[in-house]
Symmetry: C2
Subunit: 105 residues, 2 copies
């Protein structure tokens, strides 16, 4: 992730805790965000995901995901682009993310 803007704090892989990851995923809105990110290689500006919530609530959810170690967030101009930390999560908890993503909606 060498070219990534790490202006926003992200936990290192060895700082990621399973309880925080599960807590971050255990929310319908955040699961919707994670599902959308799972379908995007390049990342998504969180404003582009269709969600019936305010911008500030959206920002709060993205922050929860970032601080738990579930997503990377980088600045691109005035946008913040989120990507799933799939590689880190698959290494730390093999199967977890696939299991969560396979759940019926």
């Amino acid at each position: 992730m060498g070219d990534m803007d790490h202006a926003l704090p992200h936990p290192e892989p060895d700082e990621i805790r399973i309880e925080a990851v599960l807590q971050a995923l255990a929310d319908p809105v955040r699961l919707t965000i994670v599902r959308a990110l799972a379908e995007s290689e390049t990342g998504i500006a969180c404003g582009c995901i269709e969600l019936p919530i305010s911008k500030s609530t959206r920002t709060h959810h993205i922050r929860t995901l970032r601080e738990a170690g579930v997503v990377w967030v980088r600045a691109e101009g005035t946008s913040r682009i989120s990507t799933l930390r799939r590689e880190d999560l698959d290494k730390l908890y093999p199967g977890l993310l696939d299991g969560v993503l396979s759940a019926r909606r």
Copy 2:
């Protein structure tokens, strides 16, 4: 699970929701219980798991796990024996439980 005492309510597999499962797992005490149950084929009386918490707190946590669909609880005499619903969870969310159980403590 035909021989199981279903006096306590348990969700059917199609009633189990990923958000509730993740929420149930996203707690250090409940994760400790789930890890202990994962190592037991026959089930564990929840009093037998070493936990620095009161009996009522323990009962609350087991109830949360049961209502989310993570454990079966059956009465045996005056004890309540818990077992992990591994088959149901593995079918609903392949990889999820293994991923969670592989997390460092």
